[in-house]
Symmetry: C6
């Protein structure tokens, strides 16, 4: 994974910030399980598992907290 996938935490809008938070949550899984086929198989399971979906939402919430602070909460 040498390509640049995270040049900055700055986003134009909160919505883009939220999408970046979702991306960061998935990249960490990719760094731990590089095999796309395995990830797809697992995704088919956890996207129908309420507890797993809630746990994903928790990870997004922590990343979004980081990104929101990085963008000074898009106040200006």
């Amino acid at each position: 994974m040498s390509e640049t996938w995270l040049p900055t935490l700055v986003t134009a809008t909160p919505q883009e910030g939220f999408d970046l938070a979702v991306k960061l949550s998935r990249i960490a899984v990719k760094k731990t399980q590089p095999d796309a086929q395995v990830r797809d198989t697992l995704r088919a399971v956890y996207e129908k598992d309420a507890n797993a979906l809630i746990a994903v939402s928790a990870v997004v919430a922590t990343h979004f907290q980081t990104i929101a602070a990085a963008n000074d909460y898009w106040k200006d």
Copy 2:
């Protein structure tokens, strides 16, 4: 999901901020499981599961922390 659903983190009151936190928690699930029918099926399960409800509350708490900071805790 190209429509604008998160224009700002600024809310008039803490209560609106809490509602936004609940919304953000759900949007992350929607981004992971776009199929509304699947989400409705899962909701019928987790809304009667104490551990799942507590886990949802944890996600809301993290988002509310972000939104409260974004609104300088609605002090003025």
Copy 3:
């Protein structure tokens, strides 16, 4: 839930702040499961489940962190 239940995060004492954190933890459950009867049934289960009680305490800890920051840690 249109009544005003969260006018402010400011509390007179840390202890009131802790009580507010407990309230916020429960409100998020109420927003997800509006049926009081279902919640009472679930409460009878999780209040005798050590893991669930610890998980509730974790949610209170995150909300208390937010409320403590909102009150500048009740330093003055």
Copy 4:
């Protein structure tokens, strides 16, 4: 629980701050399960459960983070 159990978040030392974090973690359980006998029964279970002990440690970590910030990390 009308007695004053949390007059301040300020402690003389980090160690006292850690003890307060442990106390806050337990108070949240007490607020959810007021029956001391039930809590004692549950304690006999979770204090021999590795996952529960780790989960308790996680709650203490969040409260300690709050208390450390409240005491400006005991720097002076």
Copy 5:
């Protein structure tokens, strides 16, 4: 546990800060389960349990966040 085990959060290096975070994670377990023999028995279980090891890592991450802030991220 009246001996002084946490005189300060200040450490010379990030690495010492990380070690302190690991220590704080374990002390909270010790405060909840004072019996060393029980802890050793549990340790033999959870150190071979992937989910438990990940949960321990999560607690260390929260404490490290606190300690890093306490040391102003060892910037100077």
Copy 6:
């Protein structure tokens, strides 16, 4: 583990910061389970377990939050 593995939290880019967060998440596991063979055995299990991968992502998110703050969100 006396060698210097964490000289600084400062990284040149967010991407390097994310890699450091992944590293810190793993080091905490290594500190708890020093046996590389055991860790490899466990890894073969959790890298195919959706819930475990999500939990790993949560730990990375907390460490990344710390590292992002340490680098002032790589704004300059």
